[in-house]
Symmetry: C2
């Protein structure tokens, strides 16, 4: 099992800010997963991959595709106190779920 966290590389986020957004997406996606998936993923070491994407539209599409496939997913918007405009969508998590199911949604994206 794994969880993919997809981050926009077209925003001007510093490393710390980007990491906080990824953590936010990871936790919210985890909470969206069924209890048995949560448990199994943690038992396997809660594997995560961070992937990059360009643009708001492509990010929304990942989120919609994950929802349509019935996978846990969360879309994070930045509160916008620093660096970005308020409510800028920054990240989407897909999973935790089976590797193949996650790859069907995010398999074409590159590691960040």
């Amino acid at each position: 099992m794994k969880q993919a966290i997809v981050v926009r590389s077209d925003l001007d986020m510093g490393t710390g800010k980007l990491a906080a957004q990824v953590a936010h997406a990871a936790l919210s996606g985890y909470e969206d997963a069924p209890a048995d998936a949560q448990k199994e993923w943690k038992n396997q070491g809660q594997r995560k991959v961070v992937l990059e994407i360009t643009g708001e539209r492509a990010l929304f599409e990942v989120h919609e595709n994950a929802k349509a496939a019935g996978l846990p997913t969360a879309l994070i918007r930045d509160a916008g106190r620093t660096q970005l405009d308020p409510d800028t969508p920054t990240t989407v998590s897909v999973g935790p779920a089976g590797n193949d199911a996650v790859d069907r949604i995010t398999g074409s994206l590159s590691l960040f």
Copy 2:
């Protein structure tokens, strides 16, 4: 309330890897928190700050200080498949907990 995630800046981690380690620490620290703290922190928007630190020893110290103060905390070691030696300690989370309690442990560290 907030959660601080402290990351070593003396390791040669790429941005994606660093973000994954931060997410790992955030989730493990969240799981270490009492249910009422989890809930209140989420209701407040699960505020996170990512801070930097230099060296393994200083990282361990943050973890020990958080434990001694009774705060939720998690120390993450990298599995070491890429970029780092196996079991390299990379990140420590402190909280979710009250802002003042977290600041007593991490208040001297800079934003990443």
